[in-house]
Symmetry: none
Subunit: 281 residues, 2 copies
DNA sequence: TCACTATTGGAATTTTTATTCCATTTTTGT
DNA sequence: ACAAAAATGGAATAAAAATTCCAATAGTGA
């Protein structure tokens, strides 16, 4: 059987579309299917996680009815329908994820400029959205307090995240705070950091694969009781053990390149927040 | 019956508890299990929805290792462990409401940190959206062609946009293209750029207020017939007169700080596009 | 270096889960 | 009220997934 479905509306692939479809079709549906439509909209989480048998029991129908329900809407089967409910929970912007996936699939063959740009824009947007939910505000506040108390802020970051830390140097400077960029020129990182005391603070950033210098220097500073604020991408980062406060940022990637947008936004919030904190007290 | 369970620590049944458990055990774990622990915390959604085979592939381990991982933590098997990740997503919406409520109740400084972060996130997102429509694709293609023909790419950018150009140095290098970062150390910019010929190219970035060095060095290069590709924010930029191709990016700002997200996305697209162009021809 | 133990990879097996099929019941139109 | 069509329930089957097991490998201490 084809899914051309007599020229009727296209099969929805997101939750909102499905919802509309169900509401429209509701009146013409037989009893059990209508019952399922109501159940699905009332318990989308169950639809996302449950098994056919479990949902069927919960909704008061037979397992086969669930499969019929999915097919009557035009899906391949229950699993196909369930995917829509799962996508809804997975990301708050499933369309972004789909778009990224689509673009990534095209990779390897010929990707033209437009889709490249689109890919990087989307990766950046996903990173930002994700951070909106994932950053712990208490931690952010603590990070700001730590930096605000510091006399001088030492900025630590290498390779891929060096741009972020370089920007911090610009921002802190512009906001009138003393900040030193540890650029590790001539391998002089340890010496650049040598003057840091417990009255100062280190702001360190590192993402997988963690540059050893960053972890080493942060550890050395922590050893000497210099407060360390870290931005990193997982609780397993070597920075975590050295850090007094750490903030988690998971950047999305496109192809081999990971976005830095979320890190930048977070760094800017840290810088301005710290400046305002100082102005207050 | 107590839940102390033979002196072992209690088996966590929520995500936060699991997270703590993983962090504590991390050091004593064998390689593959540690790898999985990191993966689980980095991709909780995948853990919630994926199948053993799918997750195993994504995490780079064998299916059996996943089951072993779950058991080594004390769970019955993978399915039992997965339940914890699913529960977390189930409660995500209440969780979110909780957060908002907490935000409202919390002391002023949390709210403040939140709105700062929100502001920078929004500025970045707006910049990205805006660029989606405003970039001229023909110009982007021309820029890519120009850079692809170059022997060596000289990277020019100062002050606020220095991070972007620093990132370009990283990206071009990683893609196997010869690129020189003109960092202007010791005011040696002119000397760093002196070896550029018409067989090379300059990639210059500058936004208001245009740093004079960037415009001057770009002009000097153009004078010697070195092709110049520019990224800037208006047709009135001093870079435009020197540039063979130029791309317009208008970044949004929040407070005194302007986003760099769009510029980064564009720079990444340029870098990867150039690499692919070279691979083709 | 050698034996011993812990860890890992991969195929085989078991269990769970989705799907199909068909007999039975309900609805619909005349 | 009757025949035809549609819908439903439930068991049978197929598919997919989790788990187990064992051989191969890496790691460790004598």
């Amino acid at each position: 059987m084809t899914n051309v479905d007599a020229g009727v509306t296209v099969l929805p692939d997101d939750y909102d579309g499905l919802r509309t479809l169900l509401l429209n079709r509701r009146d013409g549906m037989p009893k059990r299917l209508k019952q399922l439509a109501a159940f699905a909209l009332a318990h989308p989480e169950d639809m996302a996680f449950g098994t056919v048998a479990g949902i069927a029991e919960h909704a008061g129908v037979q397992p086969s009815t669930l499969v019929r329900f999915a097919k009557s809407l035009g899906y391949d089967g229950f699993s196909h329908l369930q995917q829509i409910f799962r996508d809804r929970l997975r990301e708050r912007f499933p369309d972004y994820r789909e778009r990224l996936k689509g673009l990534r699939d095209a990779e390897g063959h010929h990707v033209h400029a437009a889709s490249l740009l689109e890919g990087f824009i989307t990766a950046a947007a996903v990173s930002l959205e994700r951070m909106r939910d994932s950053v712990r505000l208490e931690e952010l506040s603590r990070a700001i307090e730590t930096l605000a108390k510091a006399d001088t802020i030492y900025l630590l970051g290498a390779r891929r995240v060096f741009p972020v830390i370089a920007y911090c140097a610009y921002a802190f400077g512009k906001l009138g705070m003393r900040a030193i960029l540890i650029d590790h020129v001539g391998q002089l990182g340890p010496e650049q950091l040598a003057t840091a005391t417990k009255r100062d603070a280190v702001l360190a950033i590192s993402f997988t694969p963690y540059a050893p210098v960053t972890a080493d220097l942060a550890a050395a500073a922590a050893q000497r009781d210099v407060p360390v604020v870290a931005i990193t991408d997982s609780a397993f980062s070597p920075l975590v053990t050295s850090a007094d406060v750490w903030l988690e940022v998971a950047e999305a990637d496109f192809g081999a390149f990971r976005s830095l947008s979320a890190s930048f936004a977070l760094a800017m919030a840290l810088a301005v927040g710290t400046a305002e904190k100082r102005a207050e007290g």
